[in-house]
Amino acid sequence: MTDEKNHLSNKLGIWGWLGGGRYGLERYAYTLHRLTGLGLLLYFILHIFVTGSRLGGPESWSASMAVYETGLFKIGEFLVFVAFIYHGLNGIRLGLTELGFLMGKPERPLFPYRSSVMRQRPVLIVIMVLAVILILAGGLDFFVLTSH
C-alpha cells in the first residue's frame, strides 16, 4: 500500500504488539497487560448482563446460574482470575514506574549504557513469580479443592 507521496507503508499495526523483533521482557509484559485489560473489560460487560438476569426473578437467575456452572464457563472464570492477577500485579509496577519510581536517577551516559528498564527489571521478575504462585494456588482452589 503506497501513500500520497508514493511511499510504501511499513506499519507494524497490531503485529507490533505481539512481536516484531527480539525485544526484552517489558515489551511482552506491555502486550499481555493490554490484552488482559481488554479481556477484563469484556468480562465486566458480560457480568452486567448476567447479573441483570436477576431482574427476571429467581427462576431466571437460577437458570442462568445453571448454565455458568458448566465446565467451559469454569475455565472462562479461571481465565478472568488469571487476567485479574496479572493485570493487577503488573499494574502496581506500572503505576510505580509511571510515577518515576524504581528507575534510579538520570546520569551521564557512559558506554556500555544501562537503561532505567534494566534497573526496574528485578521488580518485574518478582511480580511475575508472585503472579505464577497466586495463579497456581487459584487453580488448585478452582479445579481441585472445590470440584465435587
Binding site: 511511499h7 528507575m103 549504557y113 537503561s115 528498564v117
Partner: protein, 278 residues
C-alpha cells in the same frame, strides 16, 4: 598460496529488503554473499555490495561512526545503527536487513522520516524563556550548575536516528502518537534549569497522543544506540506533570544570567594555544 587461503575472510550472506517504486509491486528479499574480514560493520558490508555487486541498492548513511543518526535499519530482529554494529557481533552467518518498521519506505532501506521530524518540531525543542529580549540580544550566559546539567544531559544525546519509534508498540498502532524521541526531547528541555517552557509544551504532551499513551514497554530504551533512555524521560515527565497538577511543583523559573568571569587566569598545566597562523 595456502597461507593466503587460510587468511581469506569468512563469507556471510546479506539478505536485504529491496523495493524500487515503479519497478517492484511489493518488497522482495535479495541475497548477497559478502566477505567478512575482522571488524566489518553492517554498513561496510552494504558499501561493499554497492561497490562490487549491485549499485542500485539504496540506504542512508553519512558519518560511519554512530554520530549522524542516518543509518538506523532493522538488522537481525532489532532496530540498530548499521555503522555501529559489527557483523561478527551479530553471531550469525546471515544478516537480515530491512528498513526501519513504522516508517513508510521510500526505496530499499530508506525510510520516510518526515513525520518523525514533524513530531520532534511539535514539542518545541529549544529553550523557551519569558524574556524574549535576552534571547534576541543576549548579554550573557544563563547559569547552570554541574548537577543541573546531569538532569538532562543523557536525554540531549539523541541523534534522531528514529530507532526508538520502530521498536515502540504504541507507535505501531497509533500514527499520531508523539513517540519516545519527541517526548524525551520535551523532557530534555523541561528538565533544563534554563528553560521556562513547560506550560507551552503541555498541550502537546497532555494530548490524547502524548505522554500518557506510553505504557512503559521499554523497547525504545533497549534499542537506543546513544543511551538516551527515552522511556525513562517519559516517566520522569509524567511524574513532573502529576506533581504539577497536584500543585506540588513551583512555577518554572529559568536560571538567571551567570555573572561574567572576571580575573580569569589560565591554569599552568594547560599548554598555551598556538599563535594564529593567518
Amino acid at each position: 598460496m595456502s597461507e593466503s587461503h587460510a587468511n581469506a575472510p569468512q563469507k556471510v550472506i546479506f539478505e536485504v529488503l529491496r523495493y524500487i517504486p515503479g519497478v517492484d509491486a511489493k518488497p522482495r528479499m535479495q541475497s548477497y554473499e559478502v566477505p567478512a574480514p575482522k571488524g566489518l560493520t553492517v554498513l561496510d558490508g552494504l558499501l561493499w555490495i554497492k561497490e562490487n555487486l549491485d549499485p542500485t541498492l539504496s540506504w542512508r548513511s553519512s558519518c560511519r561512526m554512530g554520530v549522524c543518526g542516518s543509518c538506523a535499519m532493522f538488522i537481525n530482529g532489532l532496530p540498530r545503527l548499521a555503522c555501529a554494529n559489527q557483523v561478527a557481533h551479530l553471531h550469525s552467518d546471515k544478516i537480515i536487513i530491512k528498513p526501519l518498521p513504522n516508517y513508510a519506505i521510500i526505496r530499499d532501506l530508506v525510510p520516510d522520516l518526515e513525520p518523525f521530524f514533524a513530531k520532534h518540531a511539535a514539542i518545541k525543542p529549544f529553550l523557551i524563556r519569558k524574556n524574549i529580549e535576552e534571547l534576541d540580544n543576549p548579554t550573557g550566559e544563563f547559569f547552570q550548575s554541574k548537577e543541573e546539567l546531569v538532569n538532562y544531559i543523557q536525554f540531549a544525546y539523541c541523534i534522531k536516528c528514529g530507532a526508538c519509534l520502530s521498536a515502540c508498540p504504541t507507535v505501531a498502532t497509533d500514527d499520531a502518537y508523539l513517540g519516545p524521541q519527541a517526548l524525551a526531547q520535551a523532557w530534555r528541555y523541561i528538565a533544563d534549569a534554563r528553560d521556562e517552557g513547560a506550560a507551552e509544551r503541555e498541550e502537546e504532551i497532555f494530548s490524547a497522543h502524548g505522554a500518557f499513551r506510553c505504557h512503559f514497554a521499554g523497547a525504545c530504551s533497549e534499542v537506543c544506540p546513544k543511551g538516551v533512555d527515552p522511556a525513562f524521560a517519559i516517566q520522569l515527565m509524567k511524574q513532573f506533570m502529576f506533581k504539577k497538577k497536584l500543585g506540588g511543583c513551583k512555577e518554572q523559573h529559568g536560571s538567571e544570567l551567570a555573572p561574567p568571569v572576571e580575573n580569569w587566569v589560565p591554569k599552568k598545566e594547560y599548554p598555551k594555544a598556538p599563535e594564529h597562523s593567518l
